[in-house]
Symmetry: C2
Subunit: 349 residues, 2 copies
């Protein structure tokens, strides 16, 4: 018999090519996509093994695992894109346990016909975010669905991290009297994304706050291992996240509207759109609940980090059998700040 010569395949045509079903089929086309696009961009020891798992050494102890799907529309927005967001969001969910993130996985679900140039741009941005954060994408998966059965690209990342000994941060640890801090202005991400939606015809200079918070968290945890709660107010915004924590911990909360940092441009855009910035998603901010006496130190640490310059104490926890989150308004009254009831901003992250 004559053996066919295995010609080196032509490189992917990144500029004009499109993803097709063969790129998810498990055959040669998928191998080429993975090699030329994903492995080339993410380039790390675990991934370079080219196995169905990434392998790495871990110290023993308490570990956390988290996952998030990213279905944002549009895919590119001022200050980031779905790729950087998928890294930042998952690094942050690991960090919100006080943990040091060690590895990420990335699963791509791509719609047939998606431009390879957009895929390359997203993967490049994701790889940069991962390298900047020092948290490698050690394993991945690519699936392709027929045109009309997806929406460009969805990314699901998972992340793991190691919790330093003695740290026991959890949403059920807030106690009456604890201080409520935020690391910066609320609503930037949601407004930045909305500014790109064609149907919402306004332009703004607001950038998404999308960023990895783990180095700031590491400094906070090192100084105050007894932090009670950390959580990033993403979907549903500050209001929904505080309600989650209040319910988990069985406390009430009182915050002051005048103390919640919101950029004037964000406030303006929200007024235009009939939105409340307390319910708009953030992707580079955290809520920290701590003993009142630890608040000044934690605020100092946050404010000395580039991602926490606008950190503020916005209120305190208190006894309340109903676990209400209330807000002292600028007008001087109190109002209940409930969970997000409907869906004000679909697919914002």
């Amino acid at each position: 018999m004559t053996l066919p010569r295995r010609a080196h395949p032509r490189p992917l045509d990144i500029q004009n090519g499109r993803v097709d079903l063969t790129h998810g089929g498990g055959g040669r086309a998928m191998a080429q996509l993975v090699e030329e696009l994903f492995i080339a961009a993410f380039d790390n020891e675990a991934l370079n093994q080219r196995n169905d798992q990434g392998a790495f050494e871990v110290p023993g102890g308490r570990m956390v695992m988290t996952t998030d799907g990213y279905v944002i529309s549009p895919l590119f927005f001022p200050g980031g894109d779905i790729g950087s967001l998928a890294v930042h969001g998952t690094v942050n969910d690991v960090a919100m346990a006080g943990a040091k993130p060690i590895s990420l996985s990335a699963g791509f679900i791509i719609e047939e016909g998606f431009p390879l140039s957009d895929l390359k741009r997203i993967v490049t941005s994701m790889a940069k975010a991962s390298k900047d954060a020092g948290v490698p994408v050690v394993t991945g998966d690519t699936k392709v669905v027929e045109k009309g059965k997806g929406d460009g690209i969805f990314i699901t990342t998972a992340g793991i991290g190691i919790v330093p000994p003695g740290v026991e941060i959890s949403g059920d640890k807030a106690r009456p009297g604890d201080a409520i801090l935020v690391s910066g202005t609320m609503g930037d991400h949601g407004v930045a994304v909305m500014s790109q939606r064609e149907s919402l015809g306004f332009e703004t200079e607001i950038l998404s706050d999308s960023a990895a918070l783990h180095t700031m968290v590491a400094a906070m945890v090192a100084a105050v291992p007894g932090i009670r709660v950390l959580r990033d107010p993403t979907r549903g915004g500050l209001a929904s996240t505080l309600n989650e924590i209040a319910g988990q911990s069985g406390v009430g909360m009182l915050m002051e509207e005048a103390l919640v940092p919101v950029k004037p441009q964000v406030l303006g855009a929200c007024e235009l759109l009939g939105l409340d910035p307390l319910y708009v998603a953030n992707e580079g901010k955290l809520i920290c609940i701590c003993a009142e006496e630890d608040a000044p130190r934690l605020l100092d640490i946050m404010r000395s980090h580039p991602l926490g310059r606008d950190a503020a104490r916005i209120g305190a926890c208190r006894e309340d059998a109903h676990h209400f989150v209330q807000m002292k308004t600028r007008m001087g009254g109190n109002r209940v700040v409930d969970w997000l009831a409907g869906e004000q901003l679909p697919r914002i992250c």
Copy 2:
């Protein structure tokens, strides 16, 4: 001011309800879906903490992480569904490093309008698979996309596991002279799924082989820590997976058609559809490459496990500068078994 009474929300109407955008919005509707459907089904200590991460203790050492997206169509098939598949597939990818799986994450991307009853059925099946395997789903995420921007439900799972000391299984470790084993019949999963596709009007009694292989792998690794390669032949089937390994290890392979176990019904269905069972996906089978002298022992171990009864030695690795996978046919000739070139079966897993 008068505080609103927080009425207990009505339970989800699983029987008639449908997923809507609020279920992915980060507010009360999402919290209810997560509580009544996901936490109720998966019910484990880490998930019950209701944090954005699941926490658990790990021993130190070598760890692996893996991820897979499941975009299968149809969602329910003989022998399983997207939920059980998402657990089995990821447990298996962890096990293929010889590792003991410890935790899973699950990210759901659901199309608006998806019946809650189907979601419940899928989550229940997923929870059962996870409990049967002894590998908890410790964290999850739910996103909802508008009708027409998805296809019912996509699930992306990630998994982590600990590699026993001394085990160094990897796709680049096959050597000339090594034996190639498979744990059972090839092609069952793909044919079972195809039998459910309306456009392919044939019925068959073939069940998917979808199953978690980690207990069988644990026994194999305990007996022969020096196993060179383990890999599950999913997308692209046996042929593509062997080509992957041959390329990674820089070896050729020769297998014998007569030794590759294929169920007669699967062979019949493949003939009807013009498919080659060597390229059809499996979800409960593994390929094991080992030193020739270890083969009999590993075959014994596999055959004494319920999931390995049809295990067989199908060939051996050899020197080949081209890294060809060849097959001695029933007719006595040799043919090159190449990678899957196109996409014979979109969305089979």
